[in-house]
Structures are given as C-alpha cells and as structure tokens.
C-alpha cells in the first residue's frame, strides 16, 4: 500500500511537468493545427537557460537563498524559452502558415533537431548530463509513511495554479477570446478585427513560458538535466495533450497527471518493470488515438486531424 501511494506521488510529480508542457502543445495545435515537435526542446532550453543564469548571473552570496534564487531562475528559464520560441515561430513556422500540412511538421522536426544540437554544441559541458542546483530547496514532507519531496510538491502546485490561471485568462480576457476565435476560424476572426498573427504569437509565447517554467522545476526536482530531456518529455506531453483532448486546457493537465501515473504504476507493477514503462505510455497513446481520438475533454468536431 505504501509503495502504491509513494508511486502515485511520483506519478503526480511527473504528471505536473508533463502537464505544463502539454499546455503548450494543446494551445498551439488548437490554434494552428501544428504538432510543434520543437516544444519539448523549448522545455529543455528553459532548463538550460535557468542553469546558465544560476551559474553565471546570480551572485555567489545569494545562491543558497531559495526565495531569491528560485524565482530568478524560473523567470530566466521562462524568458529564454519564450524568446527562442518566438524566434522559431517567426523564422520557421510563420512563412509556412499556408503551406501543405506536412511541411510545417517536418520543419518542426528540423527545429527540434537543430535546437537540441545547438545546445549540445554551444552550451559548455552539455555533451554530458549537467548537475542542476537544488541546495535551496531540499528535503521532503512526510505524510504517514510516504515521502513527498518539496520540489515535487512545488511542481504539482505550480502546474495546477498555472492551469487555473490560464483557463481563467482564456475564458475571460479579451486576448483569450481572440485566441478562441482564431482557433475556431482564423479568417472570420480576422474579419472581426482580430489580428490572427499576433494571437498566434501570443499562443506560442504562453506555451513557451509554461514549458520554460516546467523545465526549471524539472531540473530542480531531478537535479540534473541533459539535452535529451526535451524529446522524451515532449512525446509524453503530446500524449497527454491528445489524451486530454487537443485544445482543452484542463484536459492537457489532467492528461499529464494520467500519463505520469501510468508511467510510475506500470514501472512498478506491469511486466517488464521500469525497462518497459515508456512502452505503456505509447500503448495508452495509440489506444486513445484509435478509440477516442477526441480525447477525454476534446470536442468531437476537432477530431478531423
């Protein structure tokens, strides 16, 4: 029983990370129908941006003070992710806005490879996994016999809070309405006085900020980052977004939590153990796509992929 509960906690922590990334996938796909393969790398870039800030920017004296260091790193990660995402959007995706659908998808693959390689080549020492600072937030909360790492708790809380904020923003604000309108029909949205290009840029920016935050928190929690974290978590996140229903905000995060739980539970109890835990995520992905392509919270008319 303790094992199960402990695995559930780990699952929720992974799920929080995955959910935050999944928000970017779901929003971008909802608005431009592009599987942004590079989104996982945006997450990775955010983590590296925060690490760079910690290493070279934050003064030695305050590195141990969590309430200064952590916010600075989160902001740095988010900003780096956002800037990179906006550059990519402008240079790679925007020119292909009206191209056949395969073209931007392949471009996204190219961006993903290039981004990963750029970090590997130009970030000092990134050829091997790098240690990520954590000294400012250590220890766990004991709840009966199970342990909840503080960093893990932070991820879960941040994921839920940001999701709620995002949902409120999209449902109530002017720009949120513009985003929903553009997602439904860019041409009509344009007629209504919305600037679809600006809306799309905003969508990419929000998604990237969330991914950047996730990257930093992931690094803090795991204590070490490598250039490979992007691809795998990106695939998980995409699975989560599909599972939750593409275009649905809460779906993405709930999907993320489900994916996290599937991975840890499968790793613990399913045949093959942790060696095959990824396989179960892919099995879930395939099953969802085949049997319920609109996902848990998706709208049926969006199914026509």
């Amino acid at each position: 029983m303790t094992t199960l509960l402990q695995q559930l906690v780990y699952g929720l922590i992974l799920g929080g990370t995955v959910g935050l990334i999944a928000l970017g996938y779901t929003m971008v796909y909802g608005i431009v129908q592009l599987i942004n393969f590079a989104h996982g790398e945006i997450f990775m870039v955010g983590a590296f941006g925060a690490l760079a800030t910690f290493t070279w920017v934050i003064p030695e004296g305050v590195k141990g003070t969590w309430y200064i260091t952590l916010p600075l790193m989160v902001i740095a990660g988010a900003v780096v992710s956002m800037v990179i995402a906006l550059i990519i959007e402008r240079l790679a995706y925007k020119p292909l806005r009206n191209a056949p659908r395969l073209a931007p998808l392949i471009t996204a693959l190219g961006v993903s490879v290039a981004l990963k390689e750029a970090v590997r080549i130009w970030y000092p020492g990134a050829t091997a996994p790098l240690p990520f600072p954590k000294e400012f937030l250590t220890g766990s909360i004991e709840l009966g016999s199970i342990l909840i790492p503080k960093t893990g708790l932070l991820i879960i809380v941040v994921a839920v809070v940001l999701t709620v904020l995002l949902q409120v923003y999209i449902n109530t604000s002017r720009m949120g309405r513009a985003m929903r309108a553009t997602a439904q029909d860019p041409d009509t949205a344009r007629l209504m006085g919305i600037n679809p290009d600006r809306t799309i840029v905003l969508t990419f920016a929000i998604g990237a900020v969330l991914a950047g935050v996730a990257g930093v928190l992931y690094g803090v929690h795991i204590n070490n980052i490598s250039i490979d974290i992007g691809f795998q978590n990106g695939i998980f996140a995409f699975t989560a977004a599909v599972l939750g229903g593409i275009g649905s905000i809460r779906g993405a995060v709930i999907g993320g939590f489900v994916i996290g739980l599937v991975k840890t539970i499968a790793g613990q109890y399913f045949p093959g153990g942790t060696q095959y835990d990824y396989v179960w995520i892919f099995v879930v992905l395939i099953a969802v796509l085949v049997f319920r392509p609109q996902g848990l919270f998706g709208e049926t008319e969006r199914v026509r992929a």
Binding site: I35, L102, A114, E117, V242, G272, F282, L289, A305
Partner: protein
C-alpha cells in the same frame, strides 16, 4: 514583376553577367589564403602568393575555372534560357566561394586569412563570392525563361548513343563525387571542404544543364527508350567498382548508401504515394535485420538455425510486412498528424523492446554480432575480394552488386505499384481522402496495404543490411534514423524514385565526408530540413503531381501565383518521372 528597377535593363544584366563570369575566372587564379594552415597547405596550392603561379590550378580552383569559363561562354553567346543557366552557374560559384571562405576563415584565424594580412593578399574566395552574386543579379531583372524543349525525335542509334553518353557521364560524376576530397578523417584533413566544393561545382553545372533543358531532354529520351535506358543505367551502376571509386572503402560506403536508398524508396510508398507520414519507419528495417540475424546462425541467436539466404529474405520480409500491417491498422481511424504520432509511438516501442533484448532476439546492448557473410554458389564469401574481367575488385564489392540489384528490384516494384490501380488509389488518398472514398476506393484497405508494402521492402533491405554489416544493434534504428530517411525522401522529392535515391545518397554520404564537422552534422541537418521546407518543399527531383501540390502550381506545372523564381514548368502531360 512589371516594376522597373536598375536590374531590368538588359544592358545592365549583360554587363553584370559578363563581369561575374570574368571575375570567377580571375578568382580561380588568385591566391585564396594568406598563409599555410596548421594542417598543411590548404587544398591544392590555394596558398599561393599573389601571382606567383596563377596558372597552376588544381582541385576546387580547377572546378571554379571550368564553371567560370562556361559562365563566360553562356553570358557572351546567345544561349537559350540564358538567365536560368547563369543563375544556376552563379549559385554554384557562390557556393564554392562561400564554402572555402568559411573554411579558411574559420580554420585560419578570421577574416584576415581570406582578405589581406601582413601585406599579402588572398582575395580568391571574396572574388568568387562577388562573382556568384553578380551572376545571380544579372538574372533577377526579368522573369526566367521557359526551359527549352529539345526534340527527342531522333533516329534510334543516335538516341541510344545520347543515352549511353549521358549515363556514362552520370557514372563518372557519381564516381568523382564519391572520391572527391578523399576519405575523411586524419589522413586528409581537408576532405570536407573539398568535397563540398565539388558538390557546389557539380550542383552549379547541373543547374546550368537543367536550365538549358538538357536534363529534361535526357529524361524524356530515356522515357521513350525505357527498357534500353534501364539496362544501360543498371550496367553503369554495376561498373562503378571499375572506376576510381572501386576501393574497399568506397564500396562499403556505396553499399551502405544503397541499403538506405532502398529503404527510402520503401518509405516513399508510404509517404510519397499514400501521403501517410511515418515517423517510425526504420523499425521495419530493424525488424528485417533482427529476423535475418536470428535465422542466419548469428552467434548470439537462440534459435540456432541457419537458413539459406533466399528463405531468410522471404521470412524477414513477411514478418516486417505483418508488423507493417499492424502499425498501419490505426490508419483506419486516425488521420494526418495523429497518424504520424502513432507511427512514432510504434517506432519507439520497437526501439525500447530491442534495447531490452526482448525474448533474447535482439541482443540488447550487446547487439547481434557475427552474422555470417553471404556466400556465392562456389563458396566465395561476399566479403572477399574477387577478380572479374581481369580486374581485381576489392572486398565488399559483391555486397555492392547485390545491393544494386536490390535497388533495381525495389525500383521496379515501386514503379509498377505506382502505375497500378492501387498506386492510383494511394495518390487519390493522398490528395483527398474523402473524395477518394466517395469514388469507391477502399481507403482503409489501401492505407494498410501501403504500410505493408513499405514494410516488406524495408524488411528485405534489413535482411541484406544484417549480412552486410555482420552486427545488428538497436542503435542503428533510432528515431534519428527514421527522421533521416524521411528527410531523404523529402529532400529528393516525395513520390519520385530518382529523388529518393539522390536524397538518401546525399544524406548518408555527407556524414562520411564531413567527419571533421561531425559535431555540427545534426545541427546542419536540422537547419537543412527547415530551409528545404521553406524554399523547395517539392524536393530536388520532384514528382510531377507532388510538385503541383507543394509548389502552388497546377498539374501542368504553370505557377499559380505569379511569383518570381517560380519553378520550372513541367511537361504538358503530368507523366511519371522516368526510372533512373
């Protein structure tokens, strides 16, 4: 287009063209670097002092001289489609200049090395760059001409002679390309830039020839004499070992490329014809290879049987095909991007299973070593050297022959499938699935069959691959390989056979040649994907239908939007690209 600018003036264009060509010729004779690089003199006497020995040309400076002279002739004489030709040649000159400029500057310590330093001058690369720009500028004033159509109504012997000469020239170029710059690595530190320079040269010349309509003429001629040209091409491919490229090393490289080319053609069925994006395709190559390894008496095989090769191939193909049908089955319900993700998921599942040595069949991280080499009927192993027609051929050449035949077979299958009822159904599905369904095409069946055919071809290639490399490891079948194969298909032009071969050759020969830059290989690869999608989404040798779809042209090849630099018009009838 109607705006008047400085460049629309024909006199200006003419002057620019001639000036560019002359400058290219001069650039070939100028020194290119002000000092000796640390690894010795950079390619072929490029480090001459000013006018020391301007006429001792070798290597890339020869290439520049040739292309410059051709450009000069074309700029002065009245050639048909002059602007098209000059644009191609100019791009080639620019590429040669840029490659050497970048290399010398980065290897030799900054811009001083390629301009002026310590009173010596080395403006060769800058002159070549300017020459390239001038030539291109000379062509932007007016819209490009239609590609001239040369008559193909020739007496048969003349046509045959033309084809033989063309294909022999092609063989020569292939052999030159393979050996250009020599083997990469420590032995020849400059092989990378020298090879790239050659590519720039060959690309520029080909673009020029394409502008003249020569390539179209050859392709129409070979279309008319289909059987003859296939035979000649096959003979040309088989005689590659007799050229300069016939060393053990190049034969191995060529055979490796061949395996990937065959696989790329298989992927072309799924992606190019049926329009189903497959991001896990390399798994089928892997399945074929692992099945072959287990059935051929590899040391680590737990089955302990050694079947004859033909049986192994059939079984590999069958098992890969079964998996292909399984992977394809979600297509019944899933479309488009989602399908891409499903295939990616299958690819990852295969990779994880192989990494974990599933059922003891894949060897996991120990791989499957010691797969016995194939044997000829008289017992000669395929990895021995042989003597043929009095020429001693290096070891590995038999594998090369086998793979050439494999590619020929795969091409035949592809070409026949493409023109079959099923092929037309696939193309219809690619264009519009709902419409295809409405026309009575059983779309579900057709899509699964596409996956199945693609997987079978990859399975066959995998069986050959296993014997050729003698060790099969899951590391050869990672996601990156799937992306590279996909990129090969896209780079060459989706749905086009010569395109898939060209794409696979480029993508798998480049890493071999650019060992020096191996750190940047994937970065360049990623950027190249982005740039191709941006500027030439239809690929290098586009299929007629595909081009219509991707380049915004109608089926007859006329540009729909009036944009400058729109692509060259296709023949009036959207015909198949001839099997080359």
């Amino acid at each position: 287009m109607s705006e008047k600018t400085f460049f629309t003036n024909p006199a200006v264009s003419r002057v620019l063209g001639v000036a560019g060509a002359v400058l290219a010729v001069i650039a070939a004779m100028l020194p290119w670097s002000t000092f000796l690089l640390n690894k010795g003199a950079y390619p072929d006497k490029a480090t001459l002092q000013f006018f020391d020995a301007p006429f001792e040309l070798t290597g890339f400076r020869w290439e520049l001289l040739i292309i410059g002279v051709v450009a000069l002739v074309c700029a002065v004489a009245k050639v048909p489609a002059q602007r098209r030709v000059l644009r191609g040649l100019g791009a080639g000159i620019f590429a040669i200049g840029l490659i050497n400029f970048g290399f010398i500057a980065s290897a030799g310590g900054g811009l001083g090395a390629v301009t002026a330093l310590d009173g010596t001058f080395a403006f060769g690369s800058v002159a070549a760059l300017v020459a390239g720009v001038l030539l291109v500028l000379a062509t932007i004033g007016q819209p490009l001409e239609e590609i001239p159509r040369w008559s193909t109504k020739l007496p048969t012997p003349v046509a045959y002679l033309g084809l033989v000469v063309s294909f022999a020239a092609l063989l020569y170029v292939v052999s030159l390309t393979l050996t250009a710059g020599g083997q990469g690595g420590a032995a020849s530190p400059y092989s990378g830039p020298m090879f790239l320079s050659f590519l720039g040269f060959a690309g520029g010349m080909f673009a020029g020839a394409a502008g003249l309509g020569v390539l179209k003429w050859i392709s129409r001629l070979s279309e008319q004499h289909r059987v003859f040209s296939i035979v000649v091409l096959l003979l040309c491919a088989l005689s590659l070992p007799f050229t300069d490229a016939g060393s053990e090393y190049w034969m191995t490289v060529a055979a490796n490329i061949g395996v990937y080319a065959a696989t790329a053609i298989g992927l072309n069925i799924v992606v190019g014809l049926a329009g189903l994006l497959d991001l896990g395709y390399v798994a089928f190559l892997g399945i074929g290879a692992f099945v072959a390894a287990n059935l051929s008496g590899a040391a680590a095989s737990q089955l302990g049987i050694h079947l004859p090769f033909y049986l192994v191939v059939i079984i590999s193909a069958a098992i890969a095909g079964i998996f292909g049908a399984i992977v394809g089955s979600p297509t019944l319900r899933v479309r488009g991007d989602y399908l891409a993700i499903v295939t990616l998921a299958f690819g990852e599942i295969f990779q994880i299973a192989a990494r974990n040595n599933i059922g003891g069949l894949t060897g996991g991280s120990n791989a499957m070593p010691n797969i016995p080499a194939l044997e000829w009927f008289d017992g000669t192993a395929f990895n021995e050297s042989i003597t043929l027609f009095g020429a001693k051929l290096p070891s590995g050449v038999l594998y090369y022959f086998l793979i050439v035949l494999l590619i020929a077979a795969v091409m035949t299958v592809f070409a026949n499938l493409k023109n079959s009822r099923m092929g037309r159904a696939w193309i219809a599905i690619r264009e519009d699935e709902d419409a295809a369904r409405a026309m009575g095409i059983k779309t579900g069946q057709a899509k699964i069959l596409a996956f199945l055919c693609g997987a079978v071809l990859a399975g066959i290639a995998g069986a050959v691959f296993a014997h050729k490399t003698s060790t099969v490891s899951y590391e050869s079948f990672l996601f990156m390989e799937s992306v590279t194969l996909l990129a090969a298909v896209i780079l060459g032009g989706m749905g086009s056979i010569p395109g898939a071969v060209l794409g696979a050759s480029l993508l798998f020969v480049l890493p071999e040649k650019l060992r020096e830059f191996s750190d940047y290989r994937l970065l360049i690869f990623g950027l190249a994907l982005i740039l191709i999608m941006r500027f030439r989404p239809q690929g290098l040798i586009p299929d007629a239908h595909r081009r219509a779809e991707l380049a915004g042209e109608d089926a007859e090849g006329h540009t729909l939007q009036d944009k400058p630099g729109g692509d060259e018009p296709e023949q009036p009838k959207p015909q198949e690209v001839p099997a080359r």
